[in-house]
Symmetry: C2
Subunit: 301 residues, 2 copies
């Protein structure tokens, strides 16, 4: 019995944010104080959304980015939201625009997602970016943050992904599907499972690399996992926990203790994928700013 | 031992073309003689490309479409090709634009593919259309013709695709990847294999539905296939055949006799996927024309 390697997403993410802080300082020195700029638009005041937005804001400010938060009322008209996006599309100080999802039902999420300029689409959700991720020999402007973080964590184990069998549970636009594409691009053999999959446990047992993003608390059990597999748990589910002062706890989509006893490497929840998502958002915005700044201003000699 | 069902792509395609011919007549009656228009641009004179273009032309003319073929010399400059595409983008008589691939090496296939207006991209290759195919709750303007035909043939067997295990061999932009997305959209559990897959034979043996698009003559053998599986052979490979007057024959990526002895249903080569590709091109162009005509002209009362 070998020890499972716990993948330290929190530590890796903090290393990345430190590197980015240095890059942002260097950019400012190079381009007369210019900073990467991130605009987040939040519609309504869902508690979970507010929490995520606060975490992103804190990270952006810590690394020294220009940060703008626009909070719009829940009943904002779609046209007003579109106008605001257009304003940031045109704003040279802003290099990344993120519309916090989900949006209220009266707003068409697709229309909003497509309205963000592909060059500022740091979430990587618009169709042209998704298409480029799916196509060989193309490179999207941005890869969605959570799956980008997932790939980073898989790589951190030192595994050679090419030729490995990878199984992705979940096929959302935000996590599952782009994670599958990233793994295919790394030459894994990828199977995508979802709620209509009939024999999911047999399939997960073939996986050298298992990514779980289904939003079902502690759903994946120990006997679903191949001994030695790398398991990335994207899930963040709030469950009742009387032992906590708050009365609740956050758990992943994987039953941690059981799976950790079988897997070769595993991400904890919290402290695994979550911090990486935010670090990748900062990274995407910094990359965007580099491109924009190098195109717009001549560097100081 | 049950009899294999040979999927009659040729017959199914011919039925579709007949239906489309009727729809084209109805459109002309409705919109003062307006016809769906298809423009094909061929660069150079590769023999295989010329053959495919001739087949598409014949089908388009048979169903009564407006058809334009532009043949450009092999050494045409990319800018000239782009100008021509722009001309057809702007031409209200043209509803579908197809640039025959592959293009000569000095021309950037990506740039050309993106230049075709998404609303006339009847090949479904541009990034926004590919992205919409990959995204849940989105609908691309056009689905690429060959995989669209593949799905049609799978459906023709009467199988309930949801929950079935589907394996796609090959991940090209033209066939493998969009076929995988279409099957996922039908709620199959999809695995994509490619040249870096290590244990392909074990994987194909789990498939209820097996789509093969690798360009390797008679590569998939009888013992790779689960008894009763549906096998769609996209391959078209020219091999030496002394018994033929021409000295050559066209075979699929599947060893037909062996696999037909195991499978529940199989497409022949030729006469399987090939004719469907062309029928789907006509269908995409007719759909495009319907949209354009209904938006542009008021119908005759
Ligand atoms: N750490 C982070 O930064 C982030 C964490 N998350 C977390 O990841 C999880 C997934 O999020 P997201 O992708 O947005 O979720 P979605 O609800 O959008 O998608 C869930 C996917 O899982 C599939 N699924 C649901 N139940 C099962 C099941 N029993 N077996 C197999 N597949 C199933 C669904 O299938 P179908 O398509 O058939 O409906 C769907 O494809 C959530 O817990 C979320 O909180 C999300 C984003 C960021
Ligand atoms: N009937 C019709 O209308 C059409 C037929 N075709 C035919 O379909 C076939 C495929 O075409 P296309 O998709 O354009 O081909 P490509 O050459 O673009 O792609 C081939 C794919 O197959 C994979 N592959 C190659 N060898 C193997 C192998 N030994 N095992 C597993 N995977 C392998 C490649 O993997 P990797 O990605 O790792 O390189 C690649 O993804 C060809 O025979 C072509 O003539 C194509 C279009 C239309």
């Amino acid at each position: 019995c070998t020890m499972v390697k716990v993948i330290d997403g929190k530590g890796i993410a903090s290393g990345i944010r430190e590197r980015l802080q240095g890059e942002i300082r260097a950019l400012a020195a190079h381009y007369k104080g210019a900073k990467p700029g991130l605009a987040i638009i939040q519609v309504g005041d869902r508690e979970d959304s507010s929490l995520y937005v606060r975490m992103k804001q804190r990270a952006a400010e810590e690394v020294g980015m220009h940060f703008v938060l626009e909070k719009l009322p829940k009943d904002v008209r779609q046209m007003q939201l579109l106008n605001l996006i257009q304003q940031y599309n045109d704003d040279p100080k802003i290099h990344g625009i993120l519309v916090q999802l989900p949006l209220p039902a009266h707003i068409n999420e697709r229309v909003i997602t497509e309205a963000v300029d592909a060059r500022k689409d740091v979430d990587g959700f618009n169709s042209a970016n998704v298409g480029k991720l799916a196509k060989r020999d193309e490179t999207p402007s941005f890869v969605p943050c959570t799956p980008k973080g997932v790939l980073h964590l898989i790589r951190s184990t030192g595994v050679d992904i090419a030729g490995k069998s990878a199984v992705v549970l979940g096929r959302s636009n935000i996590v599952g599907m782009p994670a599958a594409h990233l793994l295919m691009r790394e030459n894994a053999t990828v199977t995508v499972c979802h709620s209509k999959t009939t024999n999911v446990k047999e399939i997960t047992r073939t996986a050298d690399i298992l990514v779980v993003a289904i939003g079902q608390a502690e759903y994946v059990r120990g006997d679903w996992v191949k001994p030695g597999a790398i398991v990335i748990d994207v899930g963040m589910n709030t469950i009742k926990d009387e032992s906590k002062k708050s009365g609740s706890a956050v758990v992943g989509d994987v039953k941690y203790d059981e799976v950790a006893a079988v897997a070769g490497a595993i991400t904890p929840v919290p402290g695994g994928v979550g911090p990486m998502t935010i670090a990748m958002l900062i990274e995407n915005t910094v990359e965007s700013a580099k491109l924009a700044l190098s195109a717009r201003l001549p560097p100081i000699e």
